[in-house]
């Protein structure tokens, strides 16, 4: 009984005098500063630009290109590495009126178009991967 009474008195003492302590407020600019930090955080989260194709990939692509140029410069035509085996004449397979009958295209042009197409598809792959990663985060 005595102990309980003592606890009650202690409780009343603490309640009375702690409640008299004045509540202090933060600075006037507090909300403004917090919101500024949040806006800065949001900006940094929106998009961090970085290269689409990594440095490593570029080095690899440059290496392949260099090897190709070296191969050709040594006097070996691209035909020896198998391009001549590809039947580029698709007109015999598809029965369609040849709209480009009068246009003659060199092999070099065809090779260029081929590599250009490969590059576009490669970019689509990289872009898709990038967008997926960005949307997830």
């Amino acid at each position: 009984m005595g102990e309980n009474k003592h606890i009650e008195e202690l409780n009343a003492f603490a309640k009375k005098y702690i409640n008299e302590i004045e509540k202090e407020s933060p600075s006037i600019d507090f909300t403004k500063n917090v919101m500024h930090s949040i806006m800065e955080y949001e900006k940094s989260e929106i998009y961090t630009p970085n290269s689409l194709i990594s440095k490593r990939t570029w080095i690899l692509l440059a290496g392949i290109l260099m090897v190709g140029i070296f191969y050709v410069s040594k006097g070996k035509s691209l035909g020896t590495i198998g391009f001549s085996k590809i039947n580029w004449d698709i007109s015999s397979k598809i029965r369609m009126p040849n709209l480009f009958e009068n246009i003659s295209v060199s092999n070099i042009m065809i090779y260029a178009c081929f590599f250009f197409t490969v590059l576009i598809f490669a970019q689509i792959y990289f872009l898709k991967k990038r967008f997926e990663t960005n949307l997830k985060s």
Binding site: H6, I7, E9, L10, N11, F13, A14, K15, Y17, I18, N19, E20, I21, E22, K23, E24, S25, P26, S27, F30, T31, N33, V34, M35, S37, I38, M39, Y41, E42
Partner: protein
């Protein structure tokens, strides 16, 4: 558990309306700051910890499921932030711990305090409160000033119910001892009265 008003602003923030969060900051800044100030004992550091609390709350807002009041959730972040800051600078926050809790006569401490003007008494009590160890200090503050329930304090501190009760009791007794030990000699020095 969260008030509808709070939940409205939480939902708006989560939907991308960043400015809606400023309402929550405005609403709870005083509460967060006062706890931080009681734990850090320094205005600048309390302000820094409080700002950090709101930024953390904003980043983790999607993890708030409304199982407790939004204020309790904010208190929990503040409490953790303060403990982390204190841990980083242990030397600075070393307390003048009073191991002996000898005073039992509440009337003695009351007589001392009643000799003071209300404003002066509030300042004295604040000084005495700041002499308690930070855990006990914050529990006393939350329980008596902010009127948090025991259950809410348990959520904020992650302590067991028995532990909170023990700390609360010890804190009250220690506060009483500090009032008697520190305030009485000061009163005699200043006013020559007891």
């Amino acid at each position: 558990m969260t008030t509808t008003n709070d939940q409205t602003y939480i939902n708006r923030t989560l939907k991308g309306d960043t400015n809606a969060f400023s309402f929550l900051v405005e609403q709870y800044k005083g509460m967060v700051y006062s706890l931080a100030l009681k734990m850090m004992k320094n205005r600048e550091e309390a302000e820094e910890v409080s700002q950090d609390t709101f930024i953390k709350a904003y980043k983790k807002l999607d993890k708030f499921k409304g199982e407790s009041k939004f204020s309790t959730w904010l208190y929990k972040i503040t409490y953790r932030n303060c403990l982390d800051a204190i841990k980083k600078n242990k030397e600075k926050y070393r307390n003048d711990t009073i191991d002996e809790i000898t005073i039992n006569k509440i009337s003695e401490a009351e007589n001392i305090l009643e000799n003071l003007e209300r404003k002066e008494r509030a300042a004295v009590m604040n000084t005495c409160l700041l002499k308690l160890p930070e855990e006990e200090r914050s529990i006393l503050w939350m329980f008596y000033f902010e009127e948090l329930s025991l259950k809410e304090i348990i959520t904020v501190t992650d302590l067991s119910e028995a532990n909170v009760k023990v700390k609360l009791h010890r804190a009250r007794k220690r506060l009483l001892t500090i009032v008697k030990r520190d305030v009485e000699p000061e009163l005699i020095n200043h006013y020559g009265r007891k």
